[in-house]
Homo-oligomer: 193 residues x 2
């Protein structure tokens, strides 16, 4: 399995569906890094074009990987060591391509059900297992810009919980998605319809 995850802070929507660059949050960095470590993800890319936000993320990383945090909590060190800060999706793809010797397939996530052609969890599991280099892309704020989603190789089915409500935080949605993609047997990774 050569699986990567990316958390995009730009371009994403705000509450009024305008494109913005969202702020880095400490909780997202920790929660997603811990998930990445739990599920054997190779690297977790924190993607933001804003220089001050890159500096902020870098400072958090430094604290937990080489600073006081690293001795205070070894488990956090292990998790946060998986984080890489990147200015853009393009640069992230370039970095992964360089490491792996091939371009990653990009799976976008979206809370909305697509009209056509979205990827089921079982199909996604198959793609990840068959030695493809894959990056699953999550959006902050009100979700990934539609243009970015449409450029991805696949758009994953949304998380559904048997109700009409699909307004999870990116932390909990990423947890559920990674568990469905990596955390169980191939026969049981899909929702049967």
């Amino acid at each position: 399995m050569r699986l990567y995850i990316g958390l995009l802070h730009y371009p994403v929507y705000n509450k009024n569906y305008k494109i913005i660059a969202s702020a880095i949050t400490n909780t997202d960095l920790h929660d997603l890094a811990r998930l990445a470590r739990t599920y054997g993800i190779k690297k977790f890319f924190v993607i933001t074009p804003l220089r001050d936000q890159q500096v902020l993320a870098g400072r958090i990383l430094k604290h937990w990987t080489t600073g006081y945090g690293a001795t205070y909590n070894q488990h956090r060190k292990e998790a946060l060591a998986l984080i890489a800060i990147s200015p853009s999706l393009e640069e992230t793809i370039r970095e992964i391509s360089e490491m792996e010797g091939k371009k990653p397939l990009i799976i976008a996530t979206d809370a909305q059900k697509q009209k056509t052609g979205s990827l089921t969890y079982s199909k996604a599991v198959e793609i990840i297992r068959t030695e493809n280099v894959v990056m699953v892309m999550f959006g902050t704020a009100w979700g990934l810009d539609k243009e970015v989603v449409d450029q991805a190789d696949f758009i994953l089915d949304p998380v559904e919980g048997g109700t009409n409500y699909n307004h999870l935080s990116v932390r909990t949605a990423a947890a559920i998605i990674l568990d469905r993609l990596v955390g169980r047997s191939p026969n049981c990774s899909q929702e049967e319809k």
Copy 2:
């Protein structure tokens, strides 16, 4: 399905395995309330014996259910309306018993694998589906006091992601557990070993 969740802030462990009462965090309240709404949970009990913490939780709830937050974000209102503040596990059990006319079965969660007799996800799904009143109990900080865990009717298998790392946040662990218990078909809710 008559499923409840509880988030205990006492008695839980701190980093040095001393029993403490942990602080309420805004993120946990929002993330777990949104999960509860997504997965059709009847009520989400925020359990703390500390009076000032109950007041804090009450203020957060008021903001989002009847204050400015309720008009700012209707989805949060719907989610946070599921929260009830309770001073203790005993009081929570009493409240559920009163609402349901029977005592809930308590399923404790623990990041540690039990030596004997822990509950598989498929068994837990069966219990929840067979018209039992059930409460799944999550711990904050470094996890639920062993005495509380031992008093529960069942202790759920820990979340495992195929690595040796099991240090998730309570938010992401709760997300994965609820998805495994409620979010998929009965045949596919367990990890096959």
